[in-house]
């Protein structure tokens, strides 16, 4: 019989209000009864930081650990060394950078790391398009104005633009980046650009109407809007620092729904303050939950505009929660039945080796 450790965010009264909030400690992805009926044990917690956390105490004899990117139970080399029974770490969602993957490849002869590929790519792509429009059209101060009882169109129209006619570029054109470009196609942008080591096929480029740019800096210099859609790894950590941001077009917008640690938060805040960036938005932070004094909670441009941040929620819409709960259950079933008939695209590391190029085949991942 198997011990499963599940790390989710607390839903509190919201989880009672809305049973479809499956990704909460209360609703437990809907797997408790199903697991217990088979004689397995489920321990669920949101308490994940530090050596005295429930997560750290319970992982010593857990065979399966499940967490989400929204409230990740980090699996550092130190924690992996303690997890003597661990066989599989499942991400209920997409993005397994909370697991030290090189260490996972060496833990207990190589644990499996799997995620529910595709479960929230659409949700995130929608959040990106929303954030681009919210920033360009200056929605936040406009909404705040009417909520406060004021009326001053000029005060918000002074930095309101159309998306039509602008140049938008994505850093990486994987499952999410490509979906962002497809959704932008009918908006009549001046150009849709991408930077990626792996080009789209010529057919796809023609269908979407986008163009690859060889160098990241060259792309950034042309873009009114940049959207980050690459995984976090040693080459992307801290990528958007002061120096790279200085290559961006003055007055441009940056949207990050990938991972918080891909940007240097102080450098983004400074670029907003100077007006070099007109806006920054997205839903990812480092660490998560973001501390109350995280600079990107309140960073704004010289007009007081340009912040479109949310908590990490883009991939946890109620529609996405159903998909990642279903997908997690499928991975669990593959494991518990001993069939190991996983969907190949769900496997990140397997059998002591990388199963995907998105994260792997690198020396060091997740230094932070």
């Amino acid at each position: 019989m198997v011990k499963v450790l599940l790390c989710l965010y607390d839903g509190g009264k919201h989880a009672q209000d809305v049973p479809a909030l499956l990704g909460t400690t209360e609703n437990e992805l809907g797997i408790r009864k199903w697991l217990e009926d088979q004689g397995h044990t489920l321990v669920t917690t949101s308490d994940k930081e530090g050596p005295n956390s429930v997560f750290e105490k319970e992982l010593v004899d857990a065979e399966v650990i499940i967490t989400t990117p929204f409230h990740p139970g980090y699996l550092t080399p130190e924690r992996l060394a303690k997890a003597k029974n661990l066989k599989i770490a499942i991400t209920a969602g997409i993005g397994s950078d909370h697991v030290d993957l090189p260490a996972a490849n060496k833990t207990n002869g190589g644990i499996t790391v799997a995620e529910v590929t595709g479960s929230n790519v659409v949700s995130v792509a929608e959040h990106v398009v929303m954030t681009i429009l919210v920033l360009l059209r200056n929605f936040v101060p406009a909404h705040e104005q009417v909520a406060k009882g004021n009326w001053d169109v000029a005060a918000v129209a002074k930095q309101e633009y159309d998306l039509e006619g602008k140049v938008v570029g994505t850093v990486a054109v994987g499952r999410i980046g490509e979906r962002v470009l497809r959704r932008l196609k009918p908006f009549g942008c001046k150009e849709l650009l991408y930077f990626d080591y792996q080009p789209l096929s010529a057919d796809k480029e023609a269908e979407i109407g986008c163009r690859r740019v060889d160098s990241l800096e060259e792309m950034l210099a042309q873009c009114d809007v940049v959207t980050i859609n690459c995984p976090l790894h040693e080459k992307t950590q801290g990528l958007f620092n002061k120096e790279l941001i200085s290559k961006m077009k003055p007055g441009s917008y940056l949207v990050n729904t990938a991972r918080g640690a891909i940007v240097v938060k102080e450098d983004v805040a400074a670029a907003l303050k100077s007006g070099h960036l007109a806006g920054y938005g997205g839903d990812v932070w480092f660490p998560q939950p973001a501390p109350a004094d995280h600079p990107l909670r309140t960073a704004v441009n010289p007009f007081g505009f340009g912040n479109a941040m949310t908590p990490h929620m883009s991939g946890t819409s109620l529609d996405a929660q159903k998909r990642y709960a279903d997908g997690t259950k499928a991975i669990l079933e593959s494991y518990l039945t001993g069939k190991h008939d996983y969907r190949p695209e769900d496997l990140i590391v397997y059998g002591g080796d990388w199963a995907t190029k998105s994260y792997g085949q690198r020396d060091k991942v997740n230094k932070q």
Copy 2:
């Protein structure tokens, strides 16, 4: 030599900060020097309400009156009767419902009413798509949460949905409605519906992937999201009242960027309060500017969510301001040179008769 009366919103320091804010009393659509160099007179004001307003006093001898939908100088039958010299009323933007069109047809032998067709259809369509995403993805409370220093994903994910898989319908599929549907196409909605007396061609329907529904009530019953894109006239004024809203799907969303008077504001607020509507958003109000106690400034659903209102700004992005300033100048030039070579699509009433079917051939328009 001609007297031109121009009614715009005040830009204050914002107009100085941003010279591209052309639609302000300070920047005057960029036409003052051009008019004065030809010997004409320009009087500009934002003071438009009541018999002692500058607008009402100056209109008695104005030959040309220009205003915008964002801060409209209303031309009622009483005001038109006073405007003995008036020959042409120009809307710097789209939507001439602030002019009593039947009365205009009888004023001084029939004045010309013209607007800058197309000048902001894209801007408004973008605002619609943004508002749909903001409502479905529950952006407003999520952004407020991080700005306040909190972190509670469940508290906002509890009413966060994807647009993918939802049914969206537009009331009218004119220049804006069609552009909304085209922008929604790649989002993978379950269905895109429209209600309009004039169907799209079969080719366009196939291209967009949308379907006409014969009755408005039948369409509303199927929609997760309804977007209003019809002009205001006697058949649409107060259209979304308690009774019609009750035909909408419980928990659905309503977006109105057309005109405020198309909905009964108290009925919308009540439907939000009961949760029958999950959200309401858009940028149009009646009257404008909205009074500080307008119920739709603060109306929310039982979770405290579902308000995505802004001041009337969708069509007044800086990109749109350039287009409607250019278009207004072109109409003025057609008039002042005596050529009257207007773009046919810009004419609303001309020569004492309706020039468009969008508003006209009705007994009473703009009762309110």
